[in-house]
């Protein structure tokens, strides 16, 4: 089979997506006009980073095809638990995040590839 061709429609869409990325990520600092966030919003924003991460992570761990997982035989749950346990054990010292990744994958991959969980 030959390689798929490149077409201008797709390249145009990709360029549009790049513009959307920059606009959304810069949304509130594109304009140079002076403007201040209300105080309550400033306080609220300190809770936003961890909320965003949890909102991305949790569905990836406990859902499959839009439904909650029904079986505990899921490599993701064990991998994530092992990773968190490692982080808590190390109390976040040194390269604890790297350790979380390595320990989590060391539990996840054998369950996933070996047992098909």
């Amino acid at each position: 089979m030959s390689q798929p061709g490149t077409d201008w429609w797709t390249l145009g869409v990709i360029f549009g997506m790049a513009v959307i990325t920059v606009v959304t990520r810069s949304f509130f600092f594109i304009s140079s006009r002076p403007w201040h966030l209300p105080r309550w919003a400033q306080r609220g924003l300190q809770y936003a980073p961890i909320a965003a991460l949890a909102a991305v992570i949790v569905p990836e761990l406990v859902m499959t095809q839009g439904h909650l997982i029904a079986s505990w035989q899921d490599a993701r749950v064990f991998g994530a638990t092992a990773g968190v346990a490692f982080y808590v054990w190390r109390r976040g010292a040194g390269q604890a995040v790297l350790g979380t990744i390595v320990v989590g994958m060391a539990v996840y991959l054998p369950l996933r590839i070996g047992l098909g969980w």
């Binding site: 609220g44 569905p59 991998g79 604890a96």
Partner: protein, 249 residues
Amino acid sequence: MTVRLGSSLSALLRHPEFRTGVQEVSGVAPGLAAWGLMTGVAMVNSGMSVVEAVAMTLLVFAGSSQLAGIPLIAAGAPVWVILATSFCVNLRFVVFSAHLRSYLMHLPRPARLLAGYLCADMTYVLFVRRFPHPSLEPAQRQAELAYFAGSSGLNWVSWQAASLLGIALAQWIPSAWGLGFAGILALIGVTCSLASSPMRRVSAGVAGAAAVAAFALPYKLNIVVAIAVAVALCLLLESPAPSDRRAAE
């Protein structure tokens, strides 16, 4: 002009905070790289040509928005649907940009837009973890900028290298291995490092539950809903600061 830009860039690279930024991202880079690798594989497996896949990784540089857009492009969906999806998946960055505004407004607009392009989830989270409050002093601002340059620079390079590798090796890496899970583990590690106060743990718990409950919403809007619910609840639960109460009266 070029000389001034060059010298200010080399001052940033020599700043000790540049190295700190590089070091802090290096801990999460393997997870992000595995995620980038799988994004590269996904692009090629969806039927994109190598040129298109390379253009997408270099220009769009947004994992979640790319993964959402790939099947739509493959299906030939209307352009506005693809762009609207991309916008909605990126809505959390609009929240982040409100947060980053006070750190960045002293820069000229092209530099701010470059910072916006480079600002992925991880770079934003690590940045506000290291600098909880924006500074008005030039020396401290330079430190913030150097840290951002180091962390976002390494983040960009490792994501792009892994993504390009994924594009090159797409045929040999089955997605069944689940290597992308390393990216989730990297996010989990950073979440643990942010969970430094009881209210933040509440925020994480509420957002996680809300994201599952609202999962049926289109365009990954469940993430934005989850952030809004968690932040609103934390604001209600925390005791209001005295200055706020006075302002409200």
